[in-house]
């Protein structure tokens, strides 16, 4: 079973996403902010990370950069799921090492397609 680390500070949304992914056969671990994500990523050893961008403390860009800096996660698929979805944000996401960008709000199957393309 593939493991997904979901970094999302809005609790109700994290729960909904987790429910859908769970029903699609993924094992989902939620980190409620960026700081927490960094803390647990090495232990969780996810097959994919979905992260929000706007978070207090460590934001999504920083999280991606720091995860990419970890040797074992150099090729880990990372999806940005954010309401902040300007071209500049997408560009910056690419630069720090994100593999895909999905803007909020999105359909569940849209996110699933993106995940399946990367795993």
């Amino acid at each position: 079973m593939k493991k997904i680390l979901l970094v999302e500070d809005t609790g109700h949304l994290a729960e909904e996403i987790k429910d859908v992914l769970r029903l699609e056969g993924f094992n989902v671990v939620i980190a409620e902010n960026g700081t927490r994500g960094i803390e647990i990523v090495a232990d969780v050893k996810p097959d994919l990370i979905i992260t929000d961008l706007l978070m207090a403390g460590v934001d999504g860009f920083e999280l991606i950069a720091r995860v990419r800096a970890m040797h074992q996660f150099a090729r880990l698929p990372i999806i940005i799921l954010s309401a902040k979805s300007s071209e500049a944000d997408k560009q910056r996401g690419k630069e720090v090492g994100a593999n895909a960008f999905v803007g909020k709000p999105c359909k569940a199957h849209e996110l699933l397609t993106t995940i399946n393309n990367l795993i």
């Binding site: 500070d9 809005t10 609790g11 109700h12 949304l13 729960e15 909904e16 996403i17 429910d19 859908v20 029903l23 409620e32 706007l54 207090a56 403390g57 309401a83 902040k84 803007g103 909020k104 709000p105 999105c106 359909k107 569940a108 199957h109």
Partner: protein, 651 residues
Amino acid sequence: MSVSSLLLNHLQMQVETKKILIVEDNPGDLFLVNEFLRRTSFSMYEKVHADSMKDAIGELQNNTFQIILLDLYLPDSDGLDTFDTIFPLSGSAPVIVLTGLVDENITMTTLKKGAQDYIVKGEYDEKLLEKTIRYAIERKQNQELVKKSEEEYKLLFEGNPIPMMAIDIETLRITTVNDACVQFYGYSREEFGKLTIRDIRPPEDLMKLDNELVRLREFSNGLVKSGEWRHTRKDGSIVYVEIVSHGLMLGGVRARLVASYDVTERRKAEEYLRLLESAITNTNDSVVITEAHPGSSSDTPIIFVNSAFIKMTGYTAEEVVGKSPRILQGPKTDQREINRIRQALASWKSIEVELVNYKKDGTEFWVSLTLVPIADEAGHYTHWVSIQRDVTARRRLEEFTRQKLEKQVEERTRELNKALEKEKELVDLKSKFVSIASHEFRTPLASISFAAESIRNYFHQLSSKEIQQKLIKIEEQVSHMTNLLEDILTIGKSDAGQIKVKRVSLDLKEFIQSIIEEVQMPGKVKRTIYFNFNRVNAMANVDEKLLRNVTINLLTNALKFSSENDPVTITITDHKDGFLMEVKDEGLGIDAGELQSVFEPFQRGSNVSNVQGTGLGLSILKKAVDLMNGSIEVESELNKGSLFKVYIPVQ
């Protein structure tokens, strides 16, 4: 004797033989006369004889005689008639009557009428005849001289172009006038004869005349200049005359010959000049007259300054006359203006300039200066007239106004820049707001989207309880978005100035009490809210809706961010022109780093992500306070609680 008559006499002596006319009808008497004449010095005179009146007249008409010897008794004329006929024809020749003793009366009468002498027939010899004729010629010559002289003098008086009259100094009657006088005054000689000199003067000048007459009587003989007088002409017009008179005896009475020089025109011109001078002297504008030297524009010495100039500059007339007007110039005098004046001077053109001049004490002042060249009758420029007005006050006002204007423009520019900056900030803020607001909608929408999709796609895999929970979540997020929408609309309205403050008088204590009751039970537990009302007056003039918004927001926040057991305190006290509302809780508090941006939209504390909220509550509250001209402050410590202090003026 005049030169011409002397010459004439001389010529007659040279050219013509002198002739004696003897009018005598008696041959014996004629013989005697001829005999005696022969022995006198008049023997070389040609003797012409006439023995009748008719002959005598004929001779007199054809010849000029030096002597006439006349017998009064002729065949065709008798006695005095003879003399009266002959005498007018005698010219310059003396008439000597040849008479008998019996005719003494008639002889005397002829002497009165102009005969020079007489000889009584039978009682004279050659010596008497010689003496008589010689004296007669001499006397006649003297008479002729006197007559001529009188005629000349009369001509001098009559023909004099200056109006002259003779007056009796005692009666003041005008005894004689000349033609010029008749023409000048308009009275005929007859009319003058009835006038005294009092009659040709305006009544108001008579006293002056009386004083003058006293003086004239003292110096009765000499030449007296009486100065200028006003005389009245026949037509009533007044003329100005200068009177010169000389004393004389006329027909045995003391008189004066008076000459009246007409000075009316001169007087008018003088009046006019005096008027002009008075205008120049008394005007408030400074007037300077300088000499003009053709060809040399550099030096124009001052010849006149009026009293306004003296007042304006502090110089006396003596200090500036003869000097150049340049003494008024100084370091601040604009040289360009001076050059303009120089050019005008060189080309004899009028000019107007404004420049800085200096008073004697060094004070500067602004003058508006007009310079005009003055020409004489022949058109040659002789002088410059400069009229100067002190325009310092106007200049100062202009300068003041200009500076004020500049300052105003500067201020306005600064204000405008500030406004523009603020506007830009506002635009930035708005676009930021829109971007954040849209973001705030995206998260709940994503949640709703996922929840709805899972219900649809995984309906059979979900328990009914799970479906129920998802539906509740959808409702919650919709309701959250509705609140968000309403808050955003409120902020939009407030920013657009659509919220008007409507103050009403209300019982503040009762008002807050009712709000407390309204918010006291947000969940299942009734919360503790302490209410301290320390105001003297319960009534306050406030906008009910805005104050309600503020109060509800503060109280619900206090309740929301503290635990169920922690009390909330609201205190109202008098403050300045209004009241202070303090809301204190003992809850989560606000991080010191986030305290500054607590009233900005979508700022939510990092420690409150689990608590529901749009992030707009405090920014709406702040706007409501601003609308009421109030102020808001916050003190807070993390995990100890917050204190919000709101000041609301009541009017």
